[in-house]
Amino acid sequence: MRLRVDYRASLSLVGTVLKYLVVPLTLPVVVALYYGESVAPFLVTMLVTAAVGVWLERLEPEPDLRAREGFLMVGVTWLAVALVGAIPYLVEAHGIPFLLGPLSPASTLANPVNALFESMSGFSTTGSTVLGDISFETHTRAIMMWRQLTQWLGGMGIVVLAVAILPELSVGGAQLMDAEAPGPGIEKLTPRIAETARVLWGAYLGFTVLEILLLYGLHRGGMAPQMDFYNAVAHGLTTMPTGGFSPEARSIEAFSAAAQWVIIPFMAVAGTNFALIWHVLADDPRTLVEDREFRAYLGVVAVLTTIIAGLLFSGNGFVTPEAATGGQTYDAAYVVDTAGGIVGSAEPSIRAALFQVLAIVTTTGYASLDFNAWSAPTKYLLLFAMFIGGSAGSTGGGIKIVRWYVILKSVRRELFTTSHPEAVRPVRLGGRALDERAVRGIYAFTLLYLVIFAVATILLGLDAVRVGLDVTALELLSASATTIGNVGPGFGFLGPMGGFGEFSNASKLLMVGLMWIGRLEILPVLVLLTPEYWRR
């Protein structure tokens, strides 16, 4: 069978990306050297990555990239970096055979599936973890920094970064970015696509540095005792990509209210279309205010925050003491303690609600408290928010606000045309009328997303029965929603203070797949699975 896709060209470019992955790997090396930890996991990874990269690159010296090759390149790149990204975890857990023993006590990451899960969760900026014990006793600071760094690399997109710096991707770069960037379509900010990619990465880098400086400044000012320089960098690297990994076991709850308030606006920015941010910085700040999706985004966050803050303030937002003592996943003392600090106080209620709503809507997945302590309706609001997602062109995952906006408007149109069959009503996004093809595409995407979510939930449930894992419906729903939406934490034992370690390897591999297709917005990955794509 002759293939219609020039897979050599695609793989060659994947090789190029892998080759350059050596550069960011120097950051954990520096960290390891600073803290006197072993650099072996990273040196091994650098060697493997470079070797594989150069080998793949040789497949096609002059890759010619067209639309089909673009899909393949993007899809494989994300799988490849996730595989390579798992190497440091494995080396740390197992050591190097015949040369070095395990560098850290056998951790959950010794299981290759777990290592792959953690790596994919990082690059896809999901933030779900299989780490049973998040502490520097079990994991080195360098390995944790690598974990944070994978999210930062994945946030704005490895392929976008590649387009920005690799001249061979200047042609076809728009295709690649379209396949990778969240939301329907991309907005070219400048005539040259590489320039656009650089602008986006520049803004991304700028906000990351700003957040690190602010967080560390807070620490130096005595307002955030836990937020030392390592933590400031770690959280800077995981806020802007809406990732959610934290080197602290208790996530953002470990930090002061001031630090939480600093992180809130950065999560909000991370969930905003970066093209709008570019407009604000470059020419016209009004573009931001007039953007329909941005308004809807603010509206959604405001409404959800108001409801949840009200529930928390009144005490209805927490599980009752009876349920807290009866349920297994609730730590009764924690519930009583947390509720005691929030019920009846305005600032903690608003902060907890706003933080959590932003963390879920933007799919960052941080937690400023264990929302397992919240009552069922409050938790269902969060589950619902997992399906909203951030803005198109942001680093957030999920279905995206703009798609819901278009769907709501087209439903309204359907209602109108039912009584006025002759009416011609384009669906409008701001002043712009959308092409009907784009509207159909949005319907198809959303339907596909929900179908995959439903099927995955059922598969996870079946697998849980197979291995005898005791899971509730809410836990299953959240497991599938949080991985395909790249959110991070789920409910119950998957909560912000828990992890995904208890699932079977099969379930974890399924979730690796969910994170992969979730990050690439389904179609670029699914199209690779159709025979029509490969056939001549």
Binding site: H420, E422, A423, V424, R425, P426, R428, G431, A433
Partner: protein, 445 residues
């Protein structure tokens, strides 16, 4: 003044006939038959040739020309003719276009393409329609003095409160002047004792509020009310602009267009308009969409006959008023006679607009009454004007009959002209002048 007119179509001919007595007019036209016609029917020099050609323009005497009016049916020809004229002479150039994109470009820079004044047929027609829609009983409305003064023409029906009253009795509206009564195609200058009878048309000049008030009083109470429901039939450029202008006024008009692609395009461009894709002559559809409940139905389809049909259908279904865009000037009166409430010829509107530039005496604005029976002029008066320095009662004795001072604006304030009002230099005066005395009166004002 030497005026060169490029294109002897309806607009060109209309302007030429308006100017031929007071100016030296040269008409350039490609069609030799039209050239021959004009040579005999008007007192103008008609030249056969291409208005964009240098040699033809030279032959027409572009070097001594004060003004060049390019008014062919082709936008690009008009633009190139003006640009060519500008390149070789100092003539004031006027171009007529249909495409509003050209207008926008010109407005942006003020003198793009070497054009000093640009008029857009479709836009002017749409503006005229929207003005008419704004006043339920009016047949024609024109703004003066930046909208502070309005001239409106009303038809007086038998059940109207002013029917069979004398002008003195009817004159109970503040800041409103009766400028003329049009009876059987004749212009009657109203005196206090003149009787307004049913079937007459009255021309009034006044502040927009008073004109609206008069309009409200004229229309029987049951059909009263602002036009909320406007249905536009046909998706022409004129329709597009009418819908757009109505949207700007906060209305949500409905627009019916047959062609699917065109309907989609219009729906995209007009967020505040409900666009329907249907055949507007489909009575069942019109009934289902309650077109009969509309306050105004504007028909702007491509053919005069269809516009007549749609207007009659709409009237039959119960639409309060119909406005039809009529391409053939001769049909305007005919259609109005058989049931169209207002017929509007876009080219006539353009001709009016262009004519204002050709008037002596610094007329700021001009409207034609009954095509050419009379003109309403807006003049900024200077010290030399006969109007200045004495009460209007005395001014009037020095002017021939057929002249009515309709309204005055002084430093942007509306002043109602009465017998003892004294006009000052710098005032803007809106004056009604019957065509017979125009040449005589014009220079004195």
């Amino acid at each position: 003044m030497r005026v060169i007119i490029i294109g002897a179509g309806q607009v060109g001919e209309s302007i030429a006939s308006d100017l031929d007595r007071s100016h030296e007019v040269v008409v350039v036209e490609r069609d030799s038959n039209r050239v021959e016609d004009l040579t005999y029917s008007l007192d103008v020099l008609a030249i056969q040739g291409d208005g964009t050609s240098l040699s033809v323009l030279r032959e027409a005497g572009i070097d001594e020309a004060d003004m060049l009016i390019a008014t062919t049916d082709n936008d690009e020809t008009n633009i190139v003719a003006c640009a060519t004229a500008k390149a070789i002479s100092d003539a004031f150039t006027v171009a007529r276009v249909k495409n509003t994109e050209h207008l926008r470009t010109w407005q942006h820079s003020g003198d793009a393409f070497g054009i000093d004044f640009m008029v857009c047929t479709n836009l002017l027609a749409a503006e005229a329609i929207v003005r008419i829609i704004g006043l339920p009983a009016a047949r024609d409305v024109d703004p003066f003095a930046e909208g502070r003064v309005q001239m409106a023409e009303f038809e007086v029906s038998a059940d109207s409160p002013v029917a069979d009253q004398t002008v003195r009795e009817a004159d109970r509206f503040d800041s409103l002047t009766f400028a003329a009564i049009l009876r059987n195609g004749e212009v009657v200058i109203p005196r206090g004792e003149s009787v307004i009878s049913a079937g007459d048309r009255v021309v009034v000049i006044g502040s927009p509020e008073s004109v609206q008030g008069f309009s409200d009083a004229l229309v029987p109470a049951d059909s009263l009310g602002s036009p909320d429901e406007v249905v536009i039939v046909g998706g022409s450029e004129v329709s597009y602009h009418v819908a757009r202008l109505l949207e700007e006024r906060g209305l949500r008009p409905r627009l019916i267009e047959y062609d699917a692609d065109r309907a989609r395009r219009l729906a995209e461009q007009l967020p505040g308009t409900i666009v329907m894709e249907s055949d507007a002559t489909n009575a069942e559809f019109l009934e289902r969409e309650h077109v009969g409940d509309a306050d105004v139905v504007v028909s702007a389809l491509g053919s005069d006959e269809k516009n007549l049909l749609v207007s009659l259908l709409a009237t039959r279904l119960g639409a309060a008023r119909t406005v039809a865009v009529i391409d053939t000037p001769a049909y305007v009166e005919l259609f109005e006679a058989v049931g169209v409430d207002v017929g509007l010829n876009p080219r006539e509107v353009v001709a009016e607009e262009i004519t204002r530039f050709t008037h002596e005496g610094g007329a700021e604005n001009v409207a034609l009454i009954e095509s050419d029976k009379a003109e309403v002029l807006e003049i900024e008066v200077d010290r030399d004007s006969i109007l200045v320095g004495q009460p209007i009662r005395e001014v009037m004795t020095e002017l021939p009959s057929g002249v009515v001072i309709g309204a005055i604006t002084r430093q942007d304030e509306f002043v109602t002209p009465r017998g003892d009002t004294v006009i000052e230099p710098g005032d803007h005066v809106v004056v009604f002048v019957a065509i017979e005395v125009l040449d005589d009166v014009g220079p004195k004002l």
